[in-house]
């Protein structure tokens, strides 16, 4: 068996046999005649996770047992007990989660690109901004160096392998190691000019202050390069205030919006929109219902407390309307509330369609296309026209070119 040493060097070692590994311990025991003494080990361990196939069937509650066992189907074997049941797919109800490893792809191509092409073609999506899933929580890693290096590795892999393999259909806002502003700058300077890089992304599942002086050089570097800054949300059941939630629906519904609300508030109140007028800022995967809430809340309080936001030259809601928002998961249950939201956020010019595929609450383009209160221009803008202008994406056929030109979105 080979172990990995420095710089990828492989070292050959014998396969593990516990008795052989502890041969010298046996020698010590013999030398000291320890067999003659009663010895009690008050703390030893086993890896029970290697036995979950046997343990989990003993769970008493049928529902919890189903959710936990279904969460371990093919390819998702490990369970961290403190995260048991934390399955977005609701015990396999969203079947593409447990079935994912069974989907076959051409072994000569990068799997993620092939899978991406399949869902993009099915939905008639021309370009997709690719974001990670597990890496969204990298900001929770206690070691700054690890966050830095994992972001670096991921960003290199993406820009050197994945995006080129996609032939331009995939682009990305790369992961920023936000815990280390100097490293953020290095990665913006290194990766910012690479093909397919539209900007950089900060996962909002963290509490670092986006207005800290240490970040200004990072935002400046992005603005100078014509890059965008995305804030992508996520769930976090370990967040102290969410520990009282006993169902994932609660953590998800509140958490995604909460983290974007937090950072958007800090961004607006600290006048970042004044300091970086040319930096496109995008708020991702928090849905849309939080936008009218925050606009109303901040405007009302700002009118009474302007001394606490001295950089602002207009109301907070106007700064929010200068920014962009991805549509998913669009809250479609109250059409009137949605229409009001679209008006308040200037959706025609600020809303960007997003699927979030393959996650459990993805949205098809029809969620935008079928809205009865939208004009043709608004539909075209939201589905892709605004993004085409922002990220200089060219049409892929003549009809698209005509539509982009018709609605003023032809930028490449």
């Amino acid at each position: 068996m080979e172990l990995i040493a420095e710089r990828g060097r492989r070292v050959s070692v014998d396969e593990l046999n516990t008795t052989k590994l502890l041969a010298h311990a046996r020698q010590q025991a013999v030398k000291r005649k320890l067999d003659d003494i009663l010895i009690v080990d008050c703390d030893a361990h086993h890896y029970e996770n290697e036995n979950f196939d046997q343990i989990l069937p003993f769970m008493e509650n049928d529902v919890l047992r189903q959710v936990t066992m279904a969460g371990r189907r093919s390819g998702r074997r490990s369970i961290v007990p403190s995260q048991a049941g934390f399955t977005q797919d609701m015990g396999g109800r969203v079947t593409r989660y447990p079935l994912r490893p069974t989907e076959k792809t051409d072994p000569d191509r990068i799997r993620d690109v092939v899978l991406g092409e399949r869902w993009m073609d099915a939905m008639s999506v021309d370009y997709s901004c690719l974001f990670p899933t597990g890496m969204l929580n990298i900001g929770l890693h206690p070691q700054k160096e690890m966050e830095n290096d994992l972001c670096w590795a991921y960003n290199r892999w993406l820009t050197e392998r994945v995006l080129p393999e996609s032939g331009g259909r995939m682009y990305s806002a790369l992961s920023l190691p936000f815990s280390d502003p100097a490293e953020c700058l290095r990665q913006v300077e290194t990766f910012g000019d690479r093909k397919g890089v539209s900007g950089f992304m900060v996962t909002t599942v963290r509490t670092l202050p986006v207005y800290d002086n240490a970040y200004m050089k990072v935002y400046r570097a992005m603005e100078e390069r014509g890059l965008s800054l995305s804030f992508h949300s996520g769930p976090n059941w370990q967040e102290p205030v969410f520990r009282s939630c006993n169902r994932f629906i609660s953590v998800h519904a509140l958490g995604f919006s909460f983290y974007n609300i937090l950072h958007c508030t800090n961004w607006v109140i600290n006048g970042m929109g004044e300091r970086f007028r040319k930096l496109p800022v995008i708020w991702i995967e928090a849905g849309l219902a939080w936008i009218p809430f925050l606009m109303q809340r901040l405007d009302n309080e700002y009118m009474m407390r302007p001394s606490e936001a001295p950089l602002l030259k207009k109301k907070p809601s106007e700064y929010m309307r200068d920014m962009y928002y991805s549509s998913q998961p669009i809250e479609i249950q109250d059409r009137g509330a949605l229409e009001c939201t679209f008006r308040m956020m200037d959706a025609e010019n600020r809303l960007l369609y997003a699927s979030d595929y393959p996650h459990w609450d993805f949205d098809l383009p029809s969620t935008i296309y079928d809205l009865p209160f939208l004009s043709e221009k608004a539909k075209h803008n939201i589905l892709g026209g605004t993004a085409a202008r922002l990220f200089k994406l060219p049409p892929r056929n003549e009809k698209q070119r005509q539509n982009l030109a018709k609605f003023g979105n032809l930028a490449a």
């Binding site: 509650n61 049928d62 969203v94 029809s366």
Partner: protein, 121 residues
């Protein structure tokens, strides 16, 4: 109204499900509780393949007379089928969307002739 052959009764074990295509109609046929039920395979949410996912009993919560909860359990009497796209759950006996029972999948009539099952479109 035309009758389209689905299969033989013996081909359907309890809990089985089959998708049949009749013209533009995609229909999920379920055998549940000894009965056959047939519904449109287009989810009322975003049009996903509503009948092609997991079938699973309804999750209920046991509330005691003093209003305390004694946890979740699976119903012994109500079976659902779940759209694999987003998890919309439907009652297999009625086609109602469990989260909002005003929403119902189109139900198709099933006719049994001898040992053969037909769906009426």
């Amino acid at each position: 109204m035309a009758e389209s052959f689905v299969g033989k009764v013996a081909d359907f074990n309890e809990g089985d499900r089959r998708i049949v295509f009749v013209g533009d109609h995609e229909i999920g046929v379920f055998r549940e509780g000894g009965e056959f039920h047939a519904y449109s395979n287009y989810c009322l949410h975003q049009g996903g393949p509503a009948c092609e996912g997991l079938t699973i009993a309804k999750v209920e919560e046991r509330i005691m007379p003093d209003k305390t909860s004694r946890g979740l359990y699976f119903s012994e009497t109500e079976m659902h089928f779940v759209c694999p796209w987003h998890g919309y759950e439907y009652d297999v006996k009625t086609g109602e969307c469990v989260s909002d029972r005003k929403l119902k999948l189109r139900k198709y009539k099933i006719v049994q002739k001898g040992d053969q099952i037909y769906v009426v479109v």
